[in-house]
Structures are given as C-alpha cells and as structure tokens.
Symmetry: C2
Subunit: 149 residues, 2 copies
C-alpha cells in the first residue's frame, strides 16, 4: 500500500541516496524521520526534497556541518515552502559567488607566475595568497621557493 509516509527504502530509491547514508544523515541531524509502531523510520514526502538538497549541496562542496547550518533554518513542524527553500538557495548562491571569485583570483595569480616564469620570487603574487606562511614562525616565508640570492 502507498501511504503518505515513506519507508527508508522508498526514500532511498526516490533520491538515489543509499539507505546507510540516510541513516547517517539522521545521526547528523539532516533529516528527522518519525517512527512507526515497530520502530521503523517513516519519512515525509518533503524529506525527498531535503535529501536532494543535501546531495546537491555536497556536490557544490559544502560539508555536512555547513549543510546542517542551512537546513536547520527550515521549519520542523510544517512542510517547508518554496520561500523557505529560496532563502537557503540565496545563501548558497552567495557562497558560490565567493568561491568563484576566489578561484578566479588564484587562477589569475597563477597566470602572473607563468608570465614571469618564476613561481618563486619575493614578489610572486601567490606569495600573499596564504596567511599561514607569514602567520607562524619567525620571519617571512617565500612561498613559491628560494629567495633570490
């Protein structure tokens, strides 16, 4: 019989997320299925959307923790609306914009380094790309190699 609620196997088939992964996501607070009398998980249809969102967000490179941060802004009591989802998507969009910008900067710096043929000098644009080099230990580090001697 097809009920309003879905078993873990059914939701696995609908989303492409493995049964074990869905259980794991429950321990991580990404879905909160109810239980039937026998203790088996019962998911709402809107959980399909939740899990699909998790899948996409992971593809975009977000960690479980980051996804949880976003997804917990969804209402627990009612089925999330389009508006609820749109808010989350907008936040992700901003994140993606930042990541694209960051990668573009790195690419252009790499270009500069190819241009100067050095990848190593004091003024290499990649030099300032990392806090770590200057942040720890005494004196400056020359990220892509030797000091000109």
């Amino acid at each position: 019989m097809v009920s309003a609620l879905l078993s873990i196997g059914q939701i696995s088939k609908r989303t492409g997320v493995s049964v074990s992964a869905i259980r794991y996501y429950e321990t991580e607070g990404l879905v909160k299925p109810s239980r039937n009398a026998g203790g088996q998980r019962r998911f709402r249809r809107s959980d399909i959307r939740r899990l699909s969102f998790v899948l996409i967000a992971q593809q975009l490179g977000f960690s479980i923790g980051q996804i949880r941060q976003q997804i917990r802004t969804l209402p627990d009591e009612r089925t999330p609306t389009q508006r609820d989802w749109a808010k989350i998507s907008k936040r992700f969009r901003r994140e993606l914009d930042d990541r694209i910008a960051g990668l573009t900067i790195m690419r252009d710096r790499l270009d500069g380094c190819i241009g100067c043929g050095c990848l190593s000098l004091r003024n290499c644009a990649l030099y300032n790309a990392q806090d770590r080099a200057s942040a720890k230990g005494p004196g400056p580090r020359y990220l892509m190699g030797d000091l000109p001697s």
Copy 2:
C-alpha cells in the same frame, strides 16, 4: 654552518609545512630527500619550491594523488627549471578554468531555481546536474524533490 643541503627542520621553517607533513609527503612520493651518514633527511633548496607548490595546489583543492601526477613530471636528477614549473602551472590553470566554469554553471542553475521558486520540479535545471540520479535504479529521479502531483 649553512650547507647547500637543508635539514627537515630548516625546510619546515622555510615553507611553513610541518615536519610531520613533510615526512608524510615523502612516503607519498612528493619529495625525495637524500640522507646523510646519520640517516637524517637532507633536502635541496629546490625542494622548497616543490613543497610550496604542494601547499598552493592543496589550497586550490587538488588531492595528493593529483599533485603527485603533476610533480612527477619534474626531473629527479637536475634542479627543475622555470620551464618545468611553467608546464605544470599551465595544466593547473586549465583545471582551474574548468572548475570555475563548472561552479558558474551550478550557480546559474541555482539562480534559475530561485527564479522559478521551485527547487523541485521535473524541469529544474539542477535535475540534470547529476548522473547518479538517472544512472542507477529504475526510472527517473526528480532530484530536488517530489513530482508535481
């Protein structure tokens, strides 16, 4: 005394890479230091550049395996030239271009989904973003949620 060769501690300070990480990178074949009479590692100055490259490549999101693929095109016997490094950088540039393009596509798809307010329908642009959904199991999956009913 300052010799032509560097100890692991010296190279750690110069690159900002921890001693334990450098040893790990050796087991992974990213650096191949020689040993002195007492069995201690001795690095060439060009290894600073190698390790710095590893650092940058990791920041760009490349795995150790991918980095090894690139870095092993460097000559073992002689100190790598600017040209050697430039070849590698060009390959990385292409990778970065691809990743930027991919992210941009995803971002635009996400935009489309915000625009249509759905994040769920059959024709959602994100739907086709994943092989996995259609690749396994019978019938199509509707990635961002329920079928319109």
